[in-house]
Symmetry: C2
Subunit: 336 residues, 2 copies
DNA sequence: CTGTTAGCGCTTTCAA
DNA sequence: TTGAAAGCGCTAACAG
């Protein structure tokens, strides 16, 4: 039973009016064009009766607006980005947009192909979590025609609208917690990706330990993003060997996986080690030990990003590019 | 610097050939239409030089294929659906499709509006996680024009292609684990939503306890989906009051939240209570206690769903509708 | 107040 | 082997 799609001309024909009139009425411009009350009612009734659904492709082709926002995250399966996607979806929906997404896996080639697709699809705007070397990615450059807002991280040397969080402060505070609790030697764990947020967090770590007199030098383990588990196992082993008693992770996945490894291999040590991490996934609240962490304001960030983007789309921002930094919060949990 | 989009006619003009020729070449139909080797090369070179990107809206309008798969999940922020979305994205991308998503929040009105949008946007196919009463939702009925595949759950009385998991077996096994460990009185927790997967899981629970001689009657707590926390607190309190020593949760969110509540309010009891849950979120592995659970084959389900859908889109399935049930697996973890 | 019509950029049939 | 032209469904400018 393949029911034909109803189009404007079907309604027009049945009513003996022109397509133009029908279009005007159905797009809510009846009054503006002073179309008769009864006419409008007739049209709407007929559209309802026939269950008319506008063909958005045709409309978009004509108007040049697709009503789509493209979202490029690192990985939609990562709950942090999943939540981000959800908040963006909500806000976009409020503003009359749909969201199309893609996961870059921190790979600039993948990101490039995602952005190309968005471009081809004429999305009205793009929200993107930049990757390493993203300034080289086509579609990220300034003269791009599609309004773009970065979220979560910056893109080297690129002056674009941006929504992120106070990474530096977060890292400082997390490490200060450890130091105040009396931990003497803290190691930091980060991916081998040059990402602004990670670097700011590392700087925060360095700042925090520098504030303490007669302290240790920074110890940073750079984990290969393409071989995380194996690398992390080695790094943790090394950290313990050199008698680190504090561990600082720059994001949720490093924190979670490390927790898993620690529980499996160094269960007895767990009571003596202080672990803190960026991000606040559910695990950190229910695990043993529970993990003190820094929660990013994902909801506000996401909302703000959409708001900014829609502003840009409507050209209301006078081309001034805004860099918004929202405050995260420390989630203090007991150490054992 | 608003660089104009390059279109076919631009290339054609610069090369003094017709748009038709350019189109044929760029869509890889050069040979098929016996277009000259040199001509083809010239066109491709020019397209490259000008950085031509096809306008997919125009193409879609013409061909009637959008290249979009619509995905309607319950909530993309739920890691279970986040992972599903990711696997679907990967597979869809392999098949040349992009994914547009929407979260229904288990609300048939929201789902309806999501499906309407998909319809308006001429998506080529839809993968949907049905909600309660989804058979009443416009766009879910059989005579719908857009190929649709259900995932995760069935939709009452609707004979549609479906990919799900062996919910009944999973529930039986989870409860048998508890029973074999010697737990005597198990309560089941479910949302007050009539969803096929939940019902199958409840039936599994009932079956498992019926298999034991001289046992207790089923105890089912139905949690209001719109007021989860408060309801769950009460339900757990009641369960403990009537001396249940086993708790069975039909999905991850119920399991996780209950774990949280139990840890906060009944810490001492935790060692005496056996908890098992559907789904295998990260928490269950790192929490105290660790939670024995049933892991659904999300990756296979997602892949299969896309495969099925694309088959339907290409009409290769001869309209036979397939109901695929993939096997999950028991994740056994120590009880305390 | 309503009708007519020219495209939006692309694909595809038909003609040359 | 290539060009010309119709038309996908809609919007918006213009005419009446």
């Amino acid at each position: 039973m393949t029911t034909k799609r109803i189009k404007l001309s079907d309604i027009a024909r049945e009513l003996n009016v022109s397509v133009g009139t029908v279009s005007l009425v159905l797009s809510g411009k009846a009054k503006q064009h002073r179309i008769g009350e009864e006419m409008a009612k007739k049209v709407i009734a007929k559209a309802d009766e026939l269950d008319y659904q506008a063909n958005i492709m045709a409309r978009s082709l004509r108007t040049g607006k697709s009503g789509i926002i493209g979202l490029a995250v690192a990985d939609i399966a990562n709950p942090y980005f999943g939540r981000m996607a959800r908040y963006i979806e909500n806000e976009a929906s409020n503003m009359g947009y749909q969201v199309m997404f893609g996961s870059s896996d921190e790979d600039s080639n993948k990101l490039s192909s995602i952005l190309n697709t968005f471009h081809s699809r004429q999305v009205d705007g793009i929200i993107v979590v930049p990757v390493e070397n993203c300034e080289l990615v086509g579609g990220m450059s300034n003269n791009d025609t599609i309004p773009t807002v970065l979220i979560d991280r910056e893109c080297n040397n690129l002056q674009t609208d941006l929504v992120c969080t106070n990474n530096f402060d977060g890292a400082v505070q997390l490490n200060e917690v450890l130091l105040k609790k009396g931990y003497k030697k803290i190691a930091a764990f980060v991916y081998n990706l040059r990402l602004s947020n990670f670097e700011e967090r590392l700087n925060g770590y360095k700042k925090a330990i520098k504030n303490v007199e007669g302290t240790f030098n920074p110890i940073v383990f750079s984990i290969d993003f393409n071989n995380v588990e194996e690398n992390l196992v080695k790094a943790l082993e090394e950290a313990l060997k050199i008698r680190c008693d504090g561990l600082f992770f720059v994001n949720n996945s490093l924190g979670i996986l490390s927790l898993k490894i620690m529980r499996k291999r160094y269960k007895k040590l767990l009571t003596k080690i202080g672990m803190v991490s960026f991000d606040n996934p559910e695990v950190f609240d229910l695990s043993t030990p529970r993990i003190t962490c820094w929660e990013q304001p994902v909801e506000e960030m996401s909302k703000k990003a959409v708001e900014l983007l829609v502003g840009k789309i409507n050209n209301k921002n006078e081309d001034k590019c805004q860099q918004i930094k929202l405050k995260g919060k420390l989630i203090l949990r007991d150490f054992q």
